[in-house]
């Protein structure tokens, strides 16, 4: 586990005594900086890795905990909603990978851009999206972040620098390099994180885009969320070289323990500084998804149940932060359990509210096809029955 340079036993006892005297509100607002050494070192390619000593604070750790619990709860709830047939089509869940979304947010601002694949629910939440918008979108309701017209794979929040939500494996990589191009063109001093999986890591367009990004010094950070399976195909069956952080060849790379939120934060902070000065860099997040590829995939035909439960026991990102918080006495087990209960209620309330949201008006079939419709006609299945003039 992580070592702390700060607390000694006696200090810890004092703090919990103080907390017991006051009405247990003090801990979550403590922003005093502290440093924690991450347990696993970074592995670097063509670059000096950042230090293992990560700056954080009790408040930040508690926010990590809470935010990851929200994400975990949302995905588990989505599983139930899907089985209840309230969510249709594809539903790709992110539980297990929360540390990547949360650690990244801690290192960047909303001026930086994020673009990802279809496994986007938690990334959306990390960018400031709400539970109600997420659940509504999943259930195809008006209150959804895409008004119900996108679905699970097409969440967006442009005002917070989140550019989706993409269904075609690998397409988001050139798109993300394009966002970085535009940031450089506009002199915005910001970077783009473009996330993709170990499956997408073999796509030709990745190498095309990375080549251009390197030639033109674009502030693009390619983040491979390596959960070791591209749908049902294990990485060793898909990639001749599964060292994804090295696949950029002439582009520097870093391999990161993606289940350690502090390691993710450090790596993303490092990558942002690097990209602004030196152009693209590849981050490989060693992570894991508990669910199958999607709700149509049990996830157990190509993995053993032992493997899945093994990761849950040894590497779960929420568990790690819980242990860290408790060992430093930033909160008690009970307080953390209370947070979980609170989050559960929050998620349930959001689902209830989302269920109340109506389906989109029928007229929405014909909206947003164009920004400027020019009065063109569009047609329903029987154009003599249904046609519309696009504004």
């Amino acid at each position: 586990m992580a070592l702390s340079r700060l607390s000694s036993r006696s200090n810890g006892l004092l703090r919990s005594a103080a907390a017991a005297v006051l009405l247990r509100r003090t801990i979550s607002t403590d922003t005093s900086p502290m440093t924690i050494d991450i347990s696993l070192p970074f592995t670097a390619h063509l670059v000096e890795p950042p230090s293992r000593a990560v700056e954080t604070s009790p408040k930040e750790l508690l926010s990590f905990y809470r935010d990851m619990v929200v994400m975990r709860r949302m995905e588990i709830a989505a599983d139930s909603l899907y089985k209840a047939k309230l969510i249709r089509g594809f539903c790709h869940l992110y539980d297990g990978q929360e540390a990547v979304a949360i650690g990244m947010e801690a290192a960047i601002t909303k001026q930086d851009a994020i673009i990802t694949s279809y496994r986007d629910h938690c990334t959306f939440l990390g960018r400031g999206g709400s539970l109600v918008e997420a659940f509504s979108e999943l259930m195809g309701r008006k209150a959804g972040c895409s008004n119900g017209k996108g679905g699970s794979m097409h969440f967006y929040k442009k005002d917070a620098g989140f550019y989706g939500g993409h269904g075609i494996v690998g397409a988001q990589i050139p798109l993300g390099c394009g966002l970085a191009f535009a940031q450089k063109y506009s002199k915005d001093e910001a970077v783009t994180f473009t996330l993709y999986g170990d499956g997408a890591a073999n796509q030709g367009q990745l190498f095309e885009a990375l080549n251009i990004a390197a030639l033109w010094d674009l502030p693009a950070i390619l983040v491979c969320e390596n959960n070791h399976y591209g749908m049902g195909t294990a990485e060793w069956r898909a990639a001749k070289s599964p060292a994804y952080f090295k696949r950029g060849d002439y582009v520097p790379g870093l391999k990161v323990d993606g289940m350690d939120v502090l390691a993710v934060k450090q790596a993303c902070k490092f990558a942002k500084e690097h990209a602004l000065k030196n152009g693209p860099i590849v981050l490989e997040m060693d992570t894991y998804r508990y669910h199958g590829h999607s709700m149509s995939d049990p996830g157990s035909t190509y993995r053993t149940r032992d493997e899945i439960s093994g990761v849950r026991q040894e590497r779960d990102p929420i568990e790690r932060v819980r242990k860290l918080i408790v060992s430093h006495d930033f909160a008690t087990e009970k307080e953390l359990k209370d947070i979980e209960k609170e989050v559960r209620k929050e998620v349930d309330a959001a689902i209830a509210e989302a269920k109340e949201s109506p389906v989109p008006d029928q007229s929405e079939l014909f909206t947003n096809i164009y920004v400027k419709g020019l009065g063109t006609e569009s047609f329903g299945a029987d154009r003599k029955e249904l046609r519309a003039s696009l504004p």
Binding site: K149, G164, A171, G178, I212
Partner: protein, 366 residues
């Protein structure tokens, strides 16, 4: 004035600056006002790009050989020198990569003009054109607009064979979320390209290599930097009353030639230059057919599921009662483009084909 013209011709065509000098020279010599200005399609496109880049700093160009080489077909000549490498970007030969980068830049709010050396190569990037560009505004309920233009030569050139000769109008025009334009004349080229660059939606702009060198008269209005043509409106190039002929791009010239030949035989054809394949100006076509009662559609591309098929269906749906004859369809042959000159000639519409079809529609044989 003639000195300026001669110098410009030596330079290899009218550049934007030489054109301005010609204009001012002509304006100052109003007594010679009878002579109409001529402009090649190449210069029309170049001047449109120049003016739009000058007017809006968000507009930039990206593609193979667009910068230092001055453009594979010289359409972007002089632009690198004028605007610099940040705005005129030479790319590697990686269509999927640079088209995706262009779309991403458009997501952020820039206005990219992505050149495909020919639209045959756009197939390598077609996922980005359709799935990343065309559908994003809809999937995001209006959050992600994509103000991008994909432009380049489309259709057959001369002797370039099967892989370099396909027309993509029908494929792209079938996709909701895209706008598809195809100019014929220099005025079309200027007005439609400027409209495309200003348009907030993704536009596929289908030029024609064989038209680049052709010159057309251009009005004063068309030379103005604010000139723009409406998207979605066809132009009646030649009014007539006996039969309607629709065409776009190079085929408009062929249709006009066919109309000349038909007029010698007493058939007065109305030629419609579609200009816009999506949105298709069904209203203009239908109004014309209601007047003439006969229709011949002309296109260079493959016949099955082509532009002519859509126009035919539109007329059958909207104006069936007005038809006095079955609709005729002239298109490229239903074969991959052959190389041998005699076979190539058979694979592409000729004026005689249009004349024959028009006569059939008029129930005249021979």
């Amino acid at each position: 004035m003639w000195g300026i013209l001669r110098r410009s011709i030596v330079d290899g065509g009218f550049s934007a600056t030489s054109l301005r000098r010609v204009r001012s020279a002509l304006v100052s010599s109003r007594s010679y006002a009878a002579a109409a200005k001529e402009m090649s399609v190449r210069d029309a496109l170049n001047s449109a790009l120049d003016e739009e880049m000058s007017a809006d700093p968000k507009v930039f160009i990206m593609g193979e050989e667009v910068g230092q080489y001055q453009g594979a077909y010289k359409i972007t000549k002089g632009l690198l020198e004028k605007y610099g490498p940040e705005r005129v970007c030479d790319t590697p030969i990686t269509e999927a990569g640079f088209a995706g980068i262009g779309v991403g830049a458009a997501y952020y709010g820039l206005k990219p003009v992505v050149e495909f050396m020919t639209f045959n190569f756009s197939m390598q990037a077609i996922d980005h054109i359709i799935n990343s560009a065309a559908k994003s505004n809809y999937m995001s309920a209006g959050q992600i607009a994509v103000p991008i233009v994909f432009r380049g030569p489309n259709g057959a050139a001369a002797g370039v064979g099967a892989q370099h000769s396909q027309c993509y109008a029908a494929w792209y025009a079938s996709c909701p979320g895209l706008k598809v334009l195809s100019p014929y004349s220099s005025e079309d080229a200027r007005g439609l390209l400027k409209a495309a660059i200003r348009d907030p939606d993704p536009v596929v702009f289908l030029e024609n290599e064989l038209l680049y060198g052709e010159s057309f008269p251009v009005s004063e209005e068309a030379l103005d930097s604010s000139f723009c043509l409406p998207i979605g409106k066809a132009k009646i190039e030649r009014e007539g009353k006996d039969v309607t002929i629709t065409a776009f791009s190079k085929m408009v010239g062929l249709a006009l030639k066919a109309a000349e030949m038909l007029s010698k035989e007493g058939i007065n054809a109305e030629v419609i230059n579609l200009r816009s394949i999506r949105p298709l100006d069904r209203a203009t076509v239908n109004a014309s057919v209601r007047k003439t009662n006969r229709l011949v559609t002309v296109e260079e591309g493959f016949p099955q599921h082509g532009v002519g098929a859509e126009i035919c269906t539109s007329v059958v749906e909207e104006s069936f009662g007005y038809l006095d004859a079955p609709i005729e369809r002239i298109s490229g042959a239903d074969v991959p483009m052959p190389y041998a000159a005699n076979l190539e000639r058979m694979a592409v519409p000729q004026a005689e084909d249009i004349v024959r079809a028009a006569k059939r529609a008029c129930f005249r044989s021979k």
